[in-house]
Point group: D2
């Protein structure tokens, strides 16, 4: 079944809040998200800033210990105006270089969805009117966290959250651990494009039209977000420092390869030895994000 859902309330923490809609496994939801500052497709502020989330959506039958399967079917900018930070963040440069970072107003981008590009409009700089391809993604989404926590959409953990990973684009299937009855799915914080690491503290922030489809793997328990696209399977670790994010993601991948792909411990290590790739999600948020991935064509079936 396909649900069209127009949000009227938003959350800046991900937690065990009252569902806005109940859906069945197999259902698709078509909805909208506001930008990181709470502005909608008409550039009107409809909710306070801070990565406001649409949801939560209650998935019937989801119970703690299950895995939620979340297909990202569509992530499409719903307006032309995007913005991003104009300075690399202080935590991403050498401490003694912080004083050399620029102090400039937010940068503005013209987002041309039909043309598939975004063009920098301002502020003025020697970079000029840079044009880059769109790669629309969701910066922050997930399910209600463990232990009935409500965790700020500024950060991330096992439940997902503000991972700001460029790889969360349409066509990807995400797997999330279920901690609360109904899983409680949240989506938000769309970026028309984003550099690795989200090092200016933002992608090209924009409102989105979003569609996703949910399914369940009953009784299947995972530790961290997982995902796959046509070419790769991947696992996501969220923590500081990056070293720990790598540890979480790598451990989760070793478990996945052994639990679901029939590899033994030696085989899983040897596969990763030469074939593993890592992507940097973000190095800006309170928890950083590293992604561990393996090309499907190297995994024996």
């Amino acid at each position: 079944m396909r649900h069209e859902f127009t949000p009227t309330t938003y959350h800046t923490a991900i937690g065990p809040y009252e569902p806005v809609l109940r859906i069945q496994p197999g259902d698709t939801v078509a909805t909208t998200t506001v930008d990181a500052r709470g502005f909608d497709a008409q550039r009107e502020q409809v909710t306070p800033r801070g990565n406001p989330q649409t949801g939560p959506f209650y998935v019937e039958g989801a119970e703690p210990g299950d895995t939620l399967v979340l297909q990202l079917d569509k992530i499409q900018p719903s307006r032309r105006y995007g913005f991003c930070g104009s300075s690399v963040a202080p935590n991403v440069v050498d401490p003694e270089y912080v004083r050399d970072l620029p102090d400039a107003p937010l940068a503005e981008w013209d987002v041309d969805t039909a043309g598939g590009v975004a063009t920098l409009v301002g502020p003025e700089s020697k970079l000029g009117r840079l044009t880059i391809p769109l790669e629309p993604m969701l910066g922050c989404f997930g399910v209600a966290p463990v232990r009935q926590q409500a965790i700020s959409t500024a950060t991330s953990a096992e439940h997902g959250g503000n991972m700001d990973y460029r790889g969360f684009v349409a066509g990807v299937t995400v797997y999330l651990p279920v901690f609360e009855p109904g899983a409680l799915v949240f989506v938000g914080d769309g970026h028309a494009a984003q550099g690795d690491g989200e090092i200016v503290g933002s992608g090209i922030e924009i409102s989105m039209d979003v569609e996703f489809t949910v399914n369940l793997r009953k009784g299947k328990t995972i530790g961290w977000p997982r995902g796959e696209n046509d070419d790769y399977i991947f696992t996501v670790g969220n923590a500081r420092p990056l070293d720990q994010a790598v540890q979480h993601a790598t451990t989760e991948m070793l478990r996945w390869l052994q639990d679901d792909y029939g590899l033994d411990a030696v085989g899983a290590s040897l596969l990763l030895s030469q074939c593993v790739r890592y992507d940097l999600g973000n190095i800006f948020d309170p928890a950083y994000t590293m992604v561990c991935k393996v090309a499907k064509n190297f995994i024996p079936l």
Copy 2:
């Protein structure tokens, strides 16, 4: 001028050692490197283990404060036998998962240079005889460090060293800060292929035929290794934790864009905001390595 040089001595630290050959800017050196354990193309151990380096090569005219330009012209396995570790390293997984890591002998690979592939020979595992494409690279190379230090080839710093970055393949031009008269160039630690992060503590370790060409940028001072290939310019940060490696690499890139590509501080930040990419060099050695890169086609000329 082209020099054919056959090494007879090796170093397991990079420091102000007696040069084995004096060369001019513009010269090319064709030489060989042993594998990480000191075995040569005939699989005979000719020197103790520990990433033994060929060199140092003294570049006439190089002085502290200059930049050495090092073109990697050829990196080609000189035998069929390669080996790698069989377990993900304890520092790359969650601490409580360490006890679950396998304990297996070194893995052996058949390296088919003509065919362009490496095939896993053993130990036995459910992975079977995995075949992967060759991507020959140098794990450890560099110039004599600052302050007349002699730094172990187990680790890396501003002078290069054991960076274990998959991107150091033939065709790449590397820029290194000169700290000693003659720069003192070392090369070694060839890998027929390597996963991101070198997470089993090795790539496919193998002896190599190596050719490189040196040039100088007199009076040009850089802070960290830089490089470029057809598509990208990149900077390399070496430190722990990864966060600090990112800081070094990003700061060096901001400097490069402003000093050599005519960008101002705002333009450099805005370019990186959506276009920066990061590669994980290694997360195994005492200093970890992160690479900051930007596609050339986004940089205004």
Copy 3:
């Protein structure tokens, strides 16, 4: 006014929950806490494990932006039985040493409050029946976090939480930032004693009789927990890695010295230069804790 409060419910997250009691600034609360596993003074499990908290107590008049003053008047073990972990935690040793850590049952301690000592009862080891002085403290306490989050009592942040700092003993005055109306005070996780770092994942865990007195500094906003005892003022940073915890605590101290003690930026730096001391709170929980402190006798009035 003095309130005697007997808890019947507990929380394993610190968040904007329904208050159990409303109190006025100046009031004292005498209450009890269960141990980290939910066992009370009679060694009966009255609530699930996970540092269950007594509270929250609503302080009339407290508003976001104020500072809560929390005097820890009494922290006294309410039974003789204490327990602790028997192995240093895997994250506190070199990764390759993890396999050498012991695997033993929980250790048990006889806690003699009258005598002021705790004696190790088991398991058997070559350490024998070690006896140490009591230093009763609260491992986890705080106020409702920013942004209406509910944060697990396993971890800590600006609001306090599971800081596991040996310095939170009776006689200390703690200052906490108020994020929610009423502040919402929680107390729990008593330790009869604890080593620096809580490196076995616990102190000597025990139920406690606790008394505290609350006051408000209206309109006074702080960033991180602060405290003072007879000899020192101190600030608390909670984060990973420890480096970041140090950054938070040091920044907060610099602010404190300038905002409230009349020092300028140079004077604050110079005072810390030779007089600063750091204590390690915990290096076990998801967020680590470092404490920055300065002896009062060095601070000019």
Copy 4:
């Protein structure tokens, strides 16, 4: 035997350099050190800056795998003029706070050895003429490193080096792993006093009269510097981030307790559980330093 040695050369790296004096186990050396910038007791610059070291002293009979026992007999300022940095270092505060750090000239101290105090002379600030007790210590000392490295006196590792730990005062016995024949002992970088962490990048830097006595533990191999004073035994870990320094120090302490004090793995863990204390050496140098210590009165004999 007691040697009076007046240095004429200095080193700013610790490595396998030509010995300045050969001494026997049991011998005492009375010598002098210059300050961190190379100035001697007469405030004349006799060597370039960078923690110049007196030495190396060759200890007859010392071989790799032994332990050098280094008693710090005397560390006494040899002039009245001391200096220190005037701003907390950028890496010790929150990145966004770096811009608020002061920019001031070096601070000057009058060091009154007879009176046992140091008094701040300038720059002017609201701190005034702070007077603090002297605690003379050595910031940088050690033996030649493993693998014939020469490691900058800016940093530290298994061989010692620039640990900047307040606990290295007269009366302490230090144990260092021997990596080179003769051990090759270096001493330098005296501080009349220092705060924990050396957070302004220096203690009160000053020239010193130093005396030390060497002994050997033949065939006794240790991993990291160890030490003891009247009350504590301690181990020293040098690395970044602090977390890793803690891991090194704690692992070394677990080994020490089991190898030399007769504890089993459980007993060693239980001793540390409630009795371990940590000191922050430095959080300024390229490698940070954490110290793990245990009061001798808790260790069973």
